[in-house]
Amino acid sequence: MAKKTGVFICSGCGIGESLDVDALVKVAAKECKAPVCKTNGFLCGKEGVELIKQDIAAGELDCVLVVGCSNRVNYEAFDFGPSVVVERVNIREQVAWSQQPNDEDTQAMAEDYIRMYMAKAKTVEAPEPYIAENLSKTIMVVGGGLAGMTAAIEAAKANYQVLLVEKEAALGGWLNKVYKLAPVKAPHTELEDTNLEARIAEINDNPNIKVYTSAVIEKTAGGPGLFDVTIKQNGNEIIERAGAIVLATGAVPYNPEKLGHLGFGMSPNVITQSMFEEIAKKGTITRPSDGKEVKKIAFIQCAGSRDQEHLPYCSAACCIESIKQSLYLKEQDPEAQAYVFYKDIRSSGQYEHFYKKAQMAGVMFIKGDVTDVSEGDEGTLVIEADDLLMGDKTMADEIDLIVLANGMVPTTAFEEGVYMGLGAVAAVTEGAGEAAASCDAPAVPPATIIKSNILNLQYRQGPELPDLKYGFPDSHYICFPYETRRTGIYAAGSVRRPMDMGQSVGDGVGAALKAIQCVELTEQGAAVHPRALDISFPDFQLTRCTQCKRCTDECPFGAINEDEKGNPLINPTRCRRCSTCMGACPERIISFKNYSVPMIGNMLKAFEVPEEDEEKPRILIFACENDAIPAIDMAGISRLQLNAWIRIIPVRCLGSLSLVWINDAMSRGVDGVLLLGCKHGDDYQCHFMKGSELAEIRLSKVSETLDRLGLESERVQARTVSIMDYEVIPKMLAEFMEKIEELGPNPMKGF
């Protein structure tokens, strides 16, 4: 337990000009009884850091309070090794830069922050990493297609042992089925060979890669560094230990049987892109019905994709596939005619050259909605469409072959071989909602888990990866690619999002790197993204556990299993340290060495709440460290004036919000509490998926508590901010303040 706390106050960067630093020293040394309290005009400089180091050496300080800038800067300068806890008190961005200089309220704010962090320092401890035994650094790749093979090769090249598990008898996946690839090399106009033999040979020749073909995964237990995977191959069960998993099981074409409105099933001459690859691979492109050489071909793009009744998303690869396939025909017969009916040609990046090449070859691109496909004479077909560019009906007849670009569905979207379309997913969520409504507390609908029989995880929350959207198991397409909602399992290739061959290669490399990061950090006992390098981990006082299962339910990463009695079983290597469990626990038995419910409780009890007649209200802000705190810092950097009555407490995630904090704050006479967290909902930005959503749901219960205290529930409100929202923060605070002034001061003041 930290006993000796040194306070070091920096007066640089304009702090000294707007605050009375001597008075701050008085608060720290006299009032809070810090054994060491020093000031420096340039604390992060060489001399300043030396000053702190000397005191650590001499006075054996075990906790250092750096009073100055935000913890988002200079963290390396103020790193004094694992045994010294460093707490950063931000009086630069949050006080000196965003408040009236040399004002009595500004001074009070800075003094309060010192009191708050001194209170925190009393109980904060240096975290020790959890280092599991028999950790493995092997990387298991599930799926031996292009993305999986790339991930395996890249990880093996980086000198990690790799297990490559493939369901089929041969590696290659989708590549086995295609004739040629769209170009990835300059000049980006020539068809390329799949080069499959060379890729497989590279894997077979690499001593670091162990390949299991015709194998499936029966069971995946454990967590990062400790995955115990049961592989079933030819009736034998093999158990392997892996450190991280790359999921690269790919996608399958959308079921064309559902595309009857585009003529599939009406004529054998209406086929899908994959069927066309087969025909092209055999040699001459002929009609399936009678073997006549194809002279006129039509491609229908977005057959299923970008269609609310089928696949609402863009399948990303089909435009280029159709261009490629039209060139197969042009290669065979330059006089043959090819039509592409499209919504938008999405030939991103260098593929534009390929698109141009097809245009030069005479492929006709028609932007239009296909309205009808019918049979003409002698096995030919007729397409009718609305030509959107000419604003008229259009028709192409005497077509020998129609190819439907039927898009892709991730392998994770199938339950027992049945595609879980949108309806099914919605039904699952609704059912969960009802179940939640029946119990006393409102709950966030649990993430949909489609039992796709791929990984068969031994996780309490379900056997597969949670679905983000449409069956794709990602967690956030933009902010954290490859990350699924299961720590240590990274999705790559078209199972993550629809993508083409070139992108799959990139994905394989990226996911392999993520897997390597994961095994390395797990070895150090540290968290992975987004709290990378954090070595604290939650500690459960199980003797007081009531088996309410809130922590096991609410953990966004499924890190907590249960024993048969319902006691939580933490898997520390799965933990990402968001502390959602800490906020969820009604018994408050979950804590971190450097972050706990009492610690924050002490902080909010430490600042002064002026009497009612002083007319100085107090607003407590719980701000998420991921987006809200940076936004507030940026408001300070931009010298935006913030409200003078606020006191900010950073939290790891709003998911860690404990209702007891609100209760405590209110009973102290704080006039309002504002929660600043990330956007939630469908396109959430929460770094821990559901933290801010959970906080708002918990808030809905707080009104009860407030009623009991005789207070208005509007005194506690939640707002969402993104990192770029710093400009709106002053207005947001002003509006909240207005509301609080309307309600009048908290009657609990002075009790």
Partner: protein, 198 residues
């Protein structure tokens, strides 16, 4: 905006006509159009064209020869080059338009006054080695027929004023020296152009 509807019969994609266009000197560029419409929004005379250049190109690709030939689009092109410099696909639209005009003249689609003017101007330049305004005027109105000549007579006061001020010569200028050689050069260039297009 004039926005001629295409004939109500559905477009039946027939590439015979498109191939005819592609075989012109700059005709193959028509293939490269991706229908973004940059030419249409850049065009100063788009408002009076039957079809914007983009639509004209699509007519060609759809095989609508009659609509194409009867449209005024290429005749309204002032060769300002705005579309040419802006086309993201690098299509030299002005050059394409020129080829299209030449083709229309060759095939006898001369209903627009611009066509007659082009022919008159060219005949003057070719036959004399320099341009004589009076000659162009005479040729133009003769080509356009009796109604146009009547219109021209309506402007006789203006003509008289121009004559008075020496703005309109009556006597044609002399032919240039070595006209034969110039004509040979032109003919050679034309045959080269035709050869290249093939």
């Amino acid at each position: 905006m004039v926005d001629n509807k295409i004939s109500s019969a559905p477009i039946k994609y027939d590439n015979t006509f498109a191939k005819e266009i592609y075989s012109l000197e700059n005709g193959h560029y028509v293939k490269m159009c991706m229908q973004c419409g940059m030419c249409a929004v850049s065009c100063a005379t788009r408002q009076i064209m039957d079809y914007s250049p983009r639509r004209l190109f699509n007519l060609i690709r759809a095989g609508k020869k009659e609509e194409f030939m009867r449209s005024n689009t290429m005749w309204m092109c002032t060769t300002c080059c705005m579309c040419k410099v802006r086309c993201p696909r690098g299509i030299p639209l002005v050059d394409v338009m020129h080829d299209l005009k030449a083709l229309a003249l060759k095939q006898g689609y001369v209903e627009y006054p611009q066509a007659a003017f082009y022919q008159a101007m060219w005949a003057e330049a070719f036959g004399r080695g320099r341009v004589f305004e009076g000659g162009i005027m005479a040729r133009f109105y003769l080509k356009r027929g009796w109604n146009e000549i009547k219109k021209a007579l309506g402007m006789k006061d203006l003509g008289m004023e121009m004559l008075k001020h020496g703005r309109m010569p009556i006597v044609p200028p002399r032919k240039i020296k070595g006209l034969k050689s110039l004509q040979q050069i032109i003919q050679r260039a034309q045959s080269l152009q035709e050869k290249e297009a093939k």
